[in-house]
Symmetry: C2
Subunit: 472 residues, 2 copies
């Protein structure tokens, strides 16, 4: 081993073991050379190596400093095959399986109530297209997807101030497909990506499947997004891509301000890092203004914006898209060797439906109903939950993020409720397991009928029991 590598390893160990804390100034080159017996050149090489790896950073004319451990670097396995490494995904898998059971109260589901999404006019459109010979089941809508659908989506972008060419869009088999394809297009195994500390589990799974190193940044207690941690991460780690949710964050629910989004866009350009923007809930806002996307502020084309129809018309559609700009071809390559294309029938029906006034009407009605239902859940929960709980309410989406009493493990609540046929989403589905686990996500899109009220009462009773130590 080269001498400088040996020195670099030793210093890295000091940082990893936290003997050298964040922002500690490193010995100068000369000091380090004298104390260690290495040449100044060797010390310089070691420091440069550490800097390249993100362990230390420089300040102009002031020397080298230990990087902030923004969060621990999680080195995920680069094994693709789940058969040898199944445990990390088992929780999510079991969770999804529980939700499929009959008679279950699916408060842990990610999907809105099917009855709210169901639109008679869209179904008629679909039904009509299903009967068009040589069209419904053909492969006319191969990647990048049906031109007319891409045109109506591009127009909507443009109406939102994001000038978009239909050529930039690739239609995918749902948002997860879009996000996965984008991540695969931007990275290779061993690369670093940045995620929010609390995030949709699909991001963790994708990172593991593609063998990526994950850097996380914590949520900001007030603004949702911690710009300082973000810039530190971009500065100190060789990050290839970020995967962020800034509108109607899943599971927490916050939407970050336009100022923050604009700064994120500027930082992406400054550090030349790509962003995969997960914006699947963008249409589910209940106040006047539709929230902007980072894509809106993206002058340097660093944002790949992903969304879908799953949360507004039905997850069974399996239709989404990525606004991918210059990555369109790479993403189509990847698509043609995996899912091939989204359903032709759905693409035709969607293009037709989106071109009519029924689409906006559907969105308006959906927003109204979701808002009403979510508010009703919120009011009820505020009444019945123990005082030690906290409910995070935002006038967007259909999730409530609930803080359970300090020290409570939501996985235990989850397990107890499963026995009563009630499924909630514990925070461990969205975080790595070193974080406090006393949070749950509740899906508030289902009609708040007696059955659901009873389920919520059972949950509250269970929380009381757990507080009092009646359940182990």
């Amino acid at each position: 081993m080269h001498k400088f590598k040996q020195l670099a390893n030793n210093i890295q160990f000091l940082i990893e073991s936290e003997s050298w804390p964040a922002h500690k100034k490193l010995p100068s080159l000369r000091e380090q050379a004298q104390s260690s017996g290495y040449s100044v050149m060797t010390v310089l090489n070691a420091y440069q190596e550490l800097e390249a790896k993100g362990w230390i950073y420089t300040k102009q004319k002031s020397g080298y400093y230990v990087s902030e451990a923004i969060s621990h670097v999680s080195k995920t396995s680069n094994k693709l095959a789940l058969n040898t490494n199944i445990e990390i995904n088992s929780l999510v898998f079991d969770h999804l399986k529980h939700l499929q059971k009959e008679h279950v109260i699916p408060l842990g589901s990610a999907f809105p109530s099917a009855s709210l999404l169901c639109n008679t006019y869209f179904m008629k459109t679909l039904s009509r297209h299903a009967k068009i010979p040589n069209s419904a089941l053909s492969t006319d809508s191969m990647p990048p997807g049906y031109l007319q659908l891409r045109q109506v989506i591009a127009s909507r972008y443009s109406l939102n101030g994001i000038s978009t060419n239909p050529e930039d869009l690739v239609i995918t088999s749902g948002a997860l497909d879009a996000l996965n394809l984008a991540l695969q297009a931007l990275t290779k195994p061993g690369d670093f990506i940045l995620l929010q500390q609390t995030i949709f589990y699909g991001a963790w799974q994708a990172a593991e499947r593609l063998g990526l190193n994950v850097i996380t940044i914590p949520e900001h207690y007030q603004y949702g997004f911690d710009l300082e941690a973000f810039e530190n991460a971009l500065k100190n780690y060789p990050i290839k891509a970020c995967w962020l949710m800034l509108n109607v964050h899943n599971p927490i629910g916050f939407t970050v301000s336009n100022e923050i989004k604009s700064t994120i866009a500027a930082l992406l350009q400054k550090y030349e890092v790509y962003l995969i923007e997960d914006d699947v809930y963008q249409e589910l806002f209940y106040e006047k203004q539709k929230p902007l996307s980072v894509k809106y502020f993206d002058k340097g084309n660093y944002v790949l914006h992903c969304s879908s129809f799953s949360k507004i018309l039905g997850a069974g559609i399996r239709g989404g898209w990525v606004n991918s700009g210059k990555f369109s071809n790479v993403i189509q390559h990847l698509q043609l060797m995996s899912t091939v294309s989204a359903s032709n029938l759905m693409q035709h029906a969607l293009a037709d439906f989106m071109s009519s006034h029924h689409y906006e009407k559907h969105l308006r009605q959906l927003r109204l109903k979701l808002h009403q239902t979510k508010t009703a859940y919120y009011k009820l929960l505020q009444e019945i939950l123990p005082i030690a709980c906290e409910v995070y309410y935002y006038a967007t989406g259909y999730f409530l993020w609930i803080k359970l009493p300090e020290g409570m493990d939501s996985s235990i609540l989850y397990q107890c409720l499963l026995e009563k046929n009630i499924v909630i989403a514990p925070s461990i589905l969205f975080q790595q397991d070193h974080l406090p686990s006393n949070y749950i996500r509740l899906n508030c899109s289902f009609e708040l009928n007696d059955k659901v009220r009873r389920a919520l009462q059972i949950m509250v009773g269970m929380i009381h029991d757990l507080v009092e130590g009646k359940v182990v």
Copy 2:
């Protein structure tokens, strides 16, 4: 480096460079030790290392021998991201793009003519299901897929002598999704898999995407499948999985005999190797007997059998399945983190349609039409092709595999025909490039009208020109 590794490397070099030919007996341990100065133990370790890697094999009490280079071991890149390694797939990508163009004559397409697949009764079924509220667009058919669909597919297996439990089946977004999921479930990067030397390009792409080493075996000139090469490969390489097409092989067209299939099943069990059986054309036979699958002979549960509706009802359906036995859970895991599920609407409509007599009726009519059309193409091509060409005709599927005059490069014919808006499939799409490239695959499912006749005449003219050196 350990001494034995050094020795192993040296011997490997002799084999790779063909200084030591296949089946050459290696020096005995004692001879090798004496001549090299290494200890007998070191030599033994080196030989064992080489044997584990498949470079040499042992015969009981007779010593070590150089393995046959069944084909060259192609070490595919283990990079997932196509952005850094795009060239291998570019040909396939460009090919698929050419086929999408307007006014093209798609003789290189993999899909049967949409007009033949179009079934009025199925479309009515689909149209009816599209109007059922809370059903068409819901997520009721999450992995493993809609129970009733799995039940009708399982019954069809049982009728074909393959006793199948609906629990063994996973419904996927098409056959390629099924094949990819199966391969991912069985392997991890760096593993060895076995492919036929000439095979559907999706297999090559999947191997590259998953970072696998590929061993190929040549087609048998008479029986289609070379059992000896197959057993040699299983014996000499640490193969994790095979991906084979034995019914209506794409692109060549042959179907191997039941004796060979039965032996393949026995060898899989003997060497404990899994088979991914690509059987997407299983319903497209034109003589009395439906060909059996290797799955039929699979007593040890080593076969994952994959098929789809793309070739019988429309590729736009994006519906397939894998009969996966004990791998069902692993495959569902992988599915939930990629495509999530196949379309609910399609699954419901398919279950309904397959349960009616219309399904068998559709297959009967489809077979009749495809057989007629393929025979018409065959007759015409026999008349008009130069005598130096050879047409491989089998009474299955809708492809003709055509041998062009010796030494001709079908990629050049392909390029020339593109300029005339005619797309054929050159053999390089299905093989690695060290093999003779004077073959093409023609899709003979399109009505043989004047336009197609003209296109075939143009192709024949072009072949003549190429023979006479008129085109460079």
